[in-house]
Subunit: 198 residues, 2 copies
């Protein structure tokens, strides 16, 4: 299995983190995004969307970090990370959507503006962050993990951009339950950091 990867991408880090926690071996193939390699052959033939991460496993090619998490967990990770029951999949899915929508539009965009100079609406990204983080903090004040009372791919999908949000000016100071959850994730066996997470 090969992960087409960018060290500074939180979306790629979701996959590296999950693979490390679940003991899944991945080859890493760095993609030179600053050099534009994601918009050229051969990468663009693999993923016409021109985005990392991409996972290949034999003939299978998958884009999108949430899709890769679901595949890896189901194929190689075990039911503790992505269970079989409909209600459990639904519970986790809520957070995969939140990662793709609010966490992307909030902390991720704020960081893209501040750290990489993307021309996006920073004020709106902070507004989204200010709406979503209190709801997550409230949830985590009553639950150790986002779903099912144990670490799942929901935590792997949500963790990266929340944890590096400070690089976009999104402070976790008002959110003690989120900070405690971050510490619990960092204490998991096999945990792996990314740049921007101490």
């Amino acid at each position: 299995m090969t992960l087409y990867d960018l060290e500074l991408s939180g979306n790629c880090y979701k996959i590296r983190l999950f693979a490390a926690l679940a003991g899944i071996k991945l080859e890493r193939e760095p993609v030179d995004l600053p050099g534009g390699a994601h918009k050229r052959s051969p990468f663009i033939d693999l993923n016409p969307w021109g985005q990392v991460p991409v996972l290949t496993d034999g003939d299978l090619v998958l884009r999108d970090s949430q899709a890769i998490l679901v595949y890896l967990a189901r194929q190689h990770g075990g039911h503790q990370w992505w269970p079989d029951a409909a209600a459990h999949q639904g519970e986790i899915m809520q957070w995969l959507s939140t990662a793709a929508n609010e966490i992307h539009n909030g902390p991720n965009i704020a960081r893209l503006v501040d750290k990489f100079g993307y021309p996006r609406d920073k004020a709106r990204a902070l507004e989204v962050s200010d709406q979503i983080l209190p709801l997550i903090d409230q949830h985590l004040s009553e639950h150790d993990w986002l779903a099912l009372g144990r670490p799942t791919i929901a935590d792997c999908a949500m963790f990266p951009y929340i944890a590096v949000g400070w690089e976009g000016g999104v402070s976790l100071e008002p959110y003690p339950a989120i900070r405690a959850w971050i510490d619990r994730i960092k204490a998991l066996p096999g945990y792996l950091a990314m740049p921007g997470i101490d």
Copy 2:
């Protein structure tokens, strides 16, 4: 099972459409969003996020349209809509993320601005639409359905805001393969429309 519902919401319509196609019976409980009912008890106790749709099935309470699709398909819909194999779940998940991210940030936001007066960046929503729709059109020029060569919850998640995007000024005129896919969905047994889709 009860769907807390808003007739004009494409996210709620995803669920109504899927239930109709899969022959799943839902009670509909309208939520008075213009009157602010989604921000008050009793709805806010059910979903602290203050958003529709919400599905209840016995003790289970789920927010988020993609999560509800996964749950309904797995519990009540059958494997043709959300299959068991890891690679197949991954293939569909790619589109559930696209629905939560690009389709939300593109056609959905454009429509919220034009139809409901939301204070959002319409130009950015059109930019996102202009980036994503050609990629979807290209994919559909080679595939009748978004995933697995057959209708799945991927189509139900992607269809609503693409089909009503014209209410936000997002034209499908340049995208013949998307228009043909829309016609295929409309021809499915059990198909149900929403306001804004003829």
